[in-house]
């Protein structure tokens, strides 16, 4: 126990001595949250729209009004022919174009079928998809209203009443306004914790390998577990401090609600840290120097984990095979935990499964890493 304490003290002294690392540990998380909180916004509003109205009827003017007043589209230009649209889309000054063909107004008043075309810049596919969705809703709403109006007129005087109107009334739970900020900012906590603790643990062991002190430690009676626990404990403590810091900024600055228990969050975070520290250690047993540790940790472990965890890209959209792979990723469970606790107020009654998986995976990873870490050079 005393030996373990000596290792922890030494690690802390070295951390304190590193004047560049220390600020990085606490400034980097804040920078990341701010970046995500302000810059990452997947809500599509005020899409610049080019209009080609070949109909010029009261009906077409009504449709254009509906587009502009929806808030989703802003009229940036009016052109006479569809051919004139291209330059707007190429230059990026317009993202979509609304082409109302001749006969739209007449169709509304009972004429033959007419079409309304929406041209979207697909180079930003997700924004284009959302804009097209809004556009379809607006056109359909206008169409339905006219249909109902005409049915009412046609039936006027008869003893048949027109069909009642059925409307979908959406209500979104946990994030009523579907703010992407609420979705992403808690995710930063998971990323920060993973990146920091994993890199720190991977580097700490490899650095000693590189400067030769590990060889010196191997001839001392220190037990491998004392060395590993002593080296990793300070990083677990740093990770825990970061939970406080990130939660503070997330709730106080960005107003993201913390509906569940903070203590539960701290508790499950410890289980997640077993995974990240175990992975870091595992990387350190597989590489020779700090550069390799950095590359391996970043490109073989962290980036794939972030992509496949559902933290940013929804798992539901992934192919079956990939979806199966995501079950092997600790970050997947932790991101469920974080979003559950922050937004849904989830407690142990729903998060027990994630907790068990994280605990099992974490101890497994640490066990494999410690087994690979021997007090031998060959």
């Amino acid at each position: 126990m005393r030996t373990l304490w000596h290792v922890i003290v030494k690690e802390l002294l070295q951390l304190r001595r590193d004047h560049k690392m220390l600020p990085l540990i606490f400034v980097a998380p804040v920078l990341q949250i701010v970046a995500f909180g302000y810059a990452v916004n997947t809500e599509v509003r005020d899409v610049p729209m080019v209009l080609v109205d070949q109909d010029r009827s009261p009906g077409s003017r009504d449709l254009v009004d509906r587009f502009v007043s929806s808030g989703y589209f802003t009229l940036v230009a009016t052109e006479d022919t569809p051919r004139a649209i291209d330059p707007w889309l190429v230059s990026g000054r317009g993202h979509v174009a609304l082409v109302i063909g001749p006969g739209y107004g007449a169709a509304r008043e009972g004429g033959p079928q007419a079409g309304v075309q929406m041209i979207a810049d697909g180079s930003d596919s997700s924004a284009a998809t959302q804009a097209l969705g809004y556009a379809a809703a607006i056109v359909n709403a206008a169409d339905q209203e006219r249909v109902r109006e005409r049915v009412r007129l046609a039936l006027a005087g008869g003893d048949v009443t027109p069909p009642g109107r059925i409307q979908l009334v959406p209500r979104v739970y946990y994030n009523a306004d579907l703010k992407s900020r609420w979705f992403y900012v808690p995710a930063v906590l998971a990323m920060i914790l993973m990146i920091m603790t994993m890199l720190l643990s991977a580097m700490a062991v490899v650095r000693e390998k590189e400067i030769g002190t590990l060889e010196q430690l191997m001839v001392t009676p220190v037990a491998p577990w004392q060395l590993l626990v002593g080296k990793l404990a300070p990083f677990a403590a740093i990770g825990t401090l970061q939970v406080f810091l990130v939660t503070g900024v997330t709730t106080l600055w960005f107003g993201v609600p913390l509906r569940g228990s903070f203590l539960l969050l701290l508790g499950i975070t410890q289980l997640f840290l077993l995974n990240t520290l175990g992975l870091g250690l595992l990387v350190s047993t597989l590489v020779r120097n700090q550069q390799q540790a950095m590359m391996a940790a970043a490109f073989l472990v962290m980036i794939p984990m972030i992509y496949l965890s559902g933290l940013i890209f929804p798992i539901e959209n992934m192919p079956r095979v990939i979806q199966t792979v995501t079950y092997a990723i600790p970050l997947r469970y932790y991101s469920n935990v974080i979003r559950g606790i922050f937004l849904k107020g989830a407690g142990m009654e729903t998060l027990w499964r994630e907790s068990i998986v994280l605990a099992l995976m974490g101890t497994g990873l640490l066990a494999i890493a410690s087994l690979r870490f021997r007090k031998r050079l060959d």
Binding site: R2, T3, W5, H6, V7, V9, K10, L13, Q14, R17, D18, I211, G212, T213, E215, Q216, L217, M218, V219, T220, P221, V222, K375, R376, L377, D378
Partner: protein, 317 residues
């Protein structure tokens, strides 16, 4: 009294490469035992096997009676090891290093404080103990590394090239410390490629290409030239002279030492005359041919050449 270190046919292979090819020797308690050889001769590999850092491919190493391959942890409390690379924490102060290594060796209480004071005294770091290790001059750092390796009063100390890159004065002081330790009964196993340092050792092992080329005290080793004479030859073109004399059957060994040649012959007087004649015949008349007392370097070269010749003979067969 049992030997402090017993190596029996100790072998280490890395794939097809034989780094250490069957070394057998004993080191007595309290002895300063020098392990002499060129870089890559297998010195560090041997020392690492004795410390339990590498598993021998064959043979055995017993330190203080314990088989290191079977029980590597068993010897760690009783041995000290100083690796070839400087291996203290440069971002900690001298005192923090001493306390950390004392701690991992299990020192505590009054003993830890007493050993810390001893280390500061012995390294001459009094007043400097709060300086960062990376800021200390090379000689001091080396002494600090030695102090940290022996804080727990090991009975056997392994030093791997402890004085490489250290100035001559510091080297002398460092050897004085080693002498003191040996005098107090500690067994010191030290590798070096400085031949002058070998003179400090009680006994030496010459190692060449992973094999033991010679073993014995300094005076004993020089006995290989008994019945022969070593001549030092000064001539205008030493490289040409090397070619000329290497072809001569009567010159048993020829080697270049700086601008001079050392030639081993049967008889000093006749040999000197033969050298004179042979070189004069090629227009390379020597300025001086004199008999000298053979140095350890002559001994070393003699054994290396002998080992190479045996290897070549074996290859021909």
């Amino acid at each position: 009294m049992a030997a402090a270190v017993e190596l029996r046919d100790l072998t280490k292979r890395f794939g097809d490469f034989v780094a250490v090819g069957g070394i057998t020797l004993d080191v007595q308690a309290g002895e300063i035992f020098g392990f002499l050889g060129a870089n890559g001769a297998g010195k560090s590999t041997t020392i690492r096997m004795m410390c339990g850092l590498l598993r021998p491919s064959g043979g055995s190493a017993r330190v203080l009676g314990i088989d290191v391959a079977k029980d590597p942890e068993g010897v760690k409390r009783s041995i000290g090891y100083m690796s070839q690379r400087f291996s203290l924490y440069e971002d900690l102060t001298a005192q923090q290093n001493i306390r950390f290594f004392g701690g991992v060796y299990g020192l505590h209480g009054p003993e830890a404080r007493e050993r810390e004071q001893w280390a500061i005294e012995m390294t001459g770091l009094r007043g400097q103990e709060h300086r960062l290790t990376r800021e200390l001059p090379g000689g001091w750092r080396q002494k600090l590394a030695l102090a940290c390796a022996v804080l727990h009063r090991p009975r056997v100390v392994f030093l791997d090239e402890p004085t490489s890159g250290v100035d001559p004065l510091s080297r002398r002081r460092f050897w004085a410390l080693i002498d003191e330790m040996a005098a107090s009964g500690v067994t010191v196993f030290v590798t070096t490629h400085y031949l002058d340092e070998a003179e400090y050792c009680h006994r030496l092992a010459l190692i060449h290409a992973g094999r033991l080329a010679a073993l014995g005290g300094v005076a004993e080793l020089k006995q290989v030239f008994a019945g022969h004479a070593v001549l030092e030859v000064e001539c205008p073109h030493p490289a040409d002279a090397l070619d000329t004399l290497s072809d001569a059957a009567w010159a048993r060994e020829v080697a270049i030492f700086g601008t001079r040649l050392h030639v081993v012959v049967e008889d000093a007087e006749r040999g000197a005359q033969q050298v004179q004649e042979a070189l004069a015949a090629t227009g390379n008349t020597p300025a001086q041919v004199a008999r000298i007392v053979p140095s350890l370097e002559d001994v070393f070269i003699h054994h290396v050449e002998e080992a190479e010749a045996q290897k070549a003979a074996a290859a021909r067969r």
